[in-house]
């Protein structure tokens, strides 16, 4: 996440804008606190409702994220992780800020879906074109919409139970192999 946005964001989980290593170490220590049980609050900042459907399905029998110690909560007061979908409509800024500030620290923010990652909408008068500049994002989950499996992986990465994979991917297929 961008350090400036961290500074800009009041009450964000203690995250000094210092070197990358310390930030990374801090992230891991925070994530470790959430390993066993984590409560998720979702926030729709202008999605097309497909991301919401996939998130709802996380609790469905096929995926059942409760078995991994994740739970949904309607109250940001009880939430440790904010799952944000949509391109962050400007008209929604107040609600988004209030929701984030209502969460007790330490807290994680997961940007969910291509809109939230700046894919579908460019910044303009209607939207910020991605949530990065409004909220301090910890984990980014691509996909339009991200399938429940992708969401599961993202959540597990967020709490440091899975290693991030995309960093090592090249998206290059040389020659015909594989």
């Amino acid at each position: 996440m961008k350090p400036d946005s961290a500074a800009a964001c009041a009450g964000s989980a203690a995250r000094p804008a210092s070197t990358a290593e310390t930030a990374e170490a801090l992230r891991r220590s925070v994530a470790r606190q959430f390993r066993r049980s984590l409560h998720i609050r979702t926030l729709d900042t202008g999605s097309c409702a497909a991301c919401e459907q996939e998130i709802r399905l996380l609790a469905a029998p096929h995926y059942d994220l409760h078995r991994l110690g994740f739970f949904f909560t309607p109250a940001p007061r009880h939430a440790d992780l904010l799952m944000v979908t949509g391109p962050m409509i400007r008209a929604f800024d107040i609600a988004a800020r209030k929701t984030y500030e209502a969460m007790p620290g330490p807290k994680l923010v997961v940007a969910t879906g291509a809109c939230a990652l700046g894919g579908v909408y460019q910044p303009d008068a209607f939207t910020h074109g991605g949530i990065g500049e409004t909220l301090p994002v910890d984990v980014w989950i691509p996909g339009c919409p991200p399938s429940p499996l992708a969401l599961l992986q993202g959540l597990l990465v967020a709490v440091d139970r899975l290693a991030e994979k995309v960093q090592d991917l090249t998206f290059i297929r040389s020659g015909g192999h594989r």
Partner: protein
């Protein structure tokens, strides 16, 4: 010092106060002086009441007198002692309240003079030792109260409210006169002592008739349903101290009248008399609180809650009479004691609440709960004092209302001692009704305190409210009295019990244990508790969370964020519960009683294009006014049409009427 002289002192002080405010009512010092006098009088009355409690009935003092009207007879009795003391308390508190509340002016001077004379008249009622004295004083008191209510005759509803009071009061007066005449005729005496002594000579039928007449007559003043309609009309239009006096004392005079007949003049009576009284009381209590729940005007709300409390007291009296009929003298005396204690308690906190209602009205310009809100932050003193009164009237420990209601319940729960199953069931039914009433009362006063004082201000006036320059001393004194009456209950009750012995002849003393500050209702093996220790215990319990907080305060820095509102842009005052919506469940549950008529209007109610604000009104049908009083009023209007012809307005004609009337009177005398 004997009580009567103290009362003379009080009377004199009030007379002087009346003169002082008449003379200097236009200036603040004048009003102050009058109030000081009035307060001194109150103190004297308080002392007189207490001393008459301690010293029992004094002998009758007779002064002047003539063949026609009889003589002025005064007597300090322990039954009246409680009321006299209450009168003193109310007078002192009001005296402390008035100077900051009223603007100087001739009208104010007149009003205060009338008020002081009303105090005087009430004292005379309580100190009356003879029938004539009693009746004259009573009528004077009623007329003076009428003038009190008429403080601002030009405002809407004032004349109407005052007229309701006068009309019902006069109707009651006729019945009271009848009751006294029956007793006087049957006992050949105009002196209350003698009447009480010879009451057993009166034939049963006449005794019951007299009692029923008295119950109804005084019921009008006390506000027994359905004779209560003047209270919600008169209280809102009178000034704060005026309505405080009405609720704090005047209605209590009605109770005194009932007690006078039930316990002093005609103690012996059949069970149905008591059961009837009890039923009337229970019905009054329940209906009173239910109507209170449907009121937004603070003063109307308080007026209805007065009706409820009167109901509780009368229920206690009725149960007591029932127990007498079944030979349970101990419970008889005990319930009388409990009832009188509730009189004192209600007098203190209801006066407090009415005075504070006046403070709120001055600070915000409205009595409508739904235009208030958030006053706790803007008027901290008023909110603390009101909270004490609210705890008291909601009968929550450790305040005094709880003690007296607990005593009354303990008395009722022993209905089984009557031996008669039917009566036992009836008494338990009454207890159940009071239980419902008590529950609703808590509901009503959570609302009555929460809506104006908590939450966000609903109007600009409420947001700008300030209690600077508002009276404090009077209500504060009453709050102290409430606490004292709760913590000191065992002592007070012991004193009361000793005093009542002169009325009941039953010694309750051994079953009240002042030694270890415990109250035991009548029978040792039934139950008992100590208000004092309860208070201490509750305070300790309340202290625990505070200690825990202090001990376990988080070391890490905590994050203070606003209340979670679902991400609204702004949380608006219109988004909080209002008084009427808070009590909506009762309106739905008891709609048979309210018969609400609902209307929803808005600029455009087209399903496709709804727009504009919603007007939602739900009006309860005024059942008694519409179905009981309106027909009566019609009849009277119809009769008035016949009488009109003899009203020509010609002076000579009226002189002739007078001459004729006197002639008839002499002829009757001659026969």
């Amino acid at each position: 010092m004997t009580p009567l002289p103290l009362m003379y002192g009080a009377a004199a002080a009030w007379a002087l106060a009346a003169l002082a405010v008449l003379a200097g009512g236009a200036s603040r010092p004048g009003i102050r002086a009058g109030c000081v006098m009035s307060g001194l009088g109150g103190a004297a009355a308080l002392a007189g009441g207490v001393s008459s409690l301690l010293s029992g009935n004094s002998r009758v003092v007779t002064a002047g007198g003539s063949v026609v009207v009889g003589s002025l007879q005064l007597q300090a009795t322990s039954l009246a002692g409680v009321f006299v003391a209450l009168l003193g308390l109310v007078a002192v508190a009001t005296a402390a309240f008035v100077p900051r509340y009223h603007e100087p002016g001739r009208a104010t001077g007149l009003y205060l003079a009338v008020y002081n004379l009303a105090l005087l008249a009430s004292l005379a009622v309580l100190a009356a030792g003879g029938v004539v004295t009693f009746l004259v004083a009573w009528e004077t008191m009623a007329l003076l109260c009428y003038l009190l209510i008429l403080r601002r005759p030009r405002r809407d509803d004032v004349a109407g409210g005052a007229f309701w009071f006068l009309a019902l009061s006069e109707t009651g007066f006729v019945l009271i006169v009848a009751a006294f005449v029956i007793l006087a005729a049957k006992t050949h005496s105009m002196q209350l002592d003698v009447i009480a002594a010879r009451a057993h000579l009166v034939p049963g039928a006449w005794r019951d008739t007299a009692y029923l007449l008295a119950l109804t007559g005084f019921g009008f003043k006390a506000g027994l349903v359905p004779l209560h309609v003047w209270l919600p009309e008169a209280h809102p239009v009178a000034p704060a101290d005026g309505s405080a006096f009405l609720s704090g004392l005047v209605v209590k005079l009605g109770v005194y009248g009932i007690a006078l007949f039930a316990f002093r003049l005609l103690p012996a009576g059949p069970a149905w008399r008591g059961i009837l009284t009890m039923a009337a009381g229970a019905a009054t209590a329940a209906i009173g609180i239910l109507y209170a729940l449907n009121e937004r005007d603070i003063k109307r709300f308080l007026a209805y809650s007065t009706i409820e409390n009167i109901g509780i007291i009368v229920t206690a009296f009725g149960a007591a009479m029932t127990f007498w009929a079944y030979g349970q003298r101990l419970l008889w005396a005990f319930l009388l004691l409990a009832g009188l204690y509730h009189v004192a308690n209600h007098g203190s906190y209801k006066t407090l609440l009415f005075l504070e209602a006046g403070v709120i009205e001055h600070a915000t310009g409205t009595r409508d709960m739904d235009r208030l809100g958030g006053l706790a932050h803007r008027m901290p003193r008023a909110s603390v004092i009101t909270f004490a009164g609210t705890l008291g009237i909601a009968a929550l420990p450790p305040l005094n209302g709880f003690v007296s209601e607990w005593l009354i319940f303990q008395g009722l729960f022993q209905g089984f001692r009557t031996g008669s199953h039917l009566v036992a069931i009836l008494i338990v039914l009454a207890a159940a009704t009071l239980g419902l009433t008590a529950g609703l009362a808590i509901y009503a006063f959570v609302r009555g305190y929460g809506i104006p004082f908590l939450g966000m201000p609903r109007t600009r006036r409420a947001a700008a409210a300030s209690e600077a320059g508002q009276p404090v001393a009077g209500p504060a004194l009453l709050a102290v009295a409430c606490v004292a009456l709760a913590v000191g209950a065992p002592v007070v009750l012991t004193a009361l019990a000793r005093a009542m012995r002169t009325v009941t002849g039953v010694a309750l003393r051994p079953v009240l244990l002042p030694g270890n500050l415990t109250v035991i209702p009548a029978h040792t093996k039934f139950s008992g508790f100590s208000p004092t220790y309860l208070t201490v215990f509750l305070l300790a319990v309340l202290a625990v969370p505070g200690l825990i907080y202090l001990a376990g305060r988080p070391r890490a820095d905590s994050l203070i964020v606003p209340v979670w509102d679902g991400g609204l842009v702004t949380f608006k005052p219109r988004m909080q519960y209002s008084a009427m919506t808070f009590s909506a469940p009762t309106r739905v549950t008891f709609d048979a009683l309210y018969r609400p008529t609902v209307s929803v209007r808005r600029a455009s109610d087209d399903p496709a294009g709804r727009s504009g604000p919603v007007h939602y009104e739900s009006q309860a049908t005024p059942v008694f006014e519409r179905y009981l009083y309106r027909p009566v009023i019609r009849v009277f209007e119809w009769l008035a049409d016949f009488i009109r012809p003899i009203q020509s307005g010609d002076v000579n004609l009226y002189l002739f009427y007078v001459f004729a009337a006197v002639l008839v009177a002499y002829l009757l005398g001659a026969l």
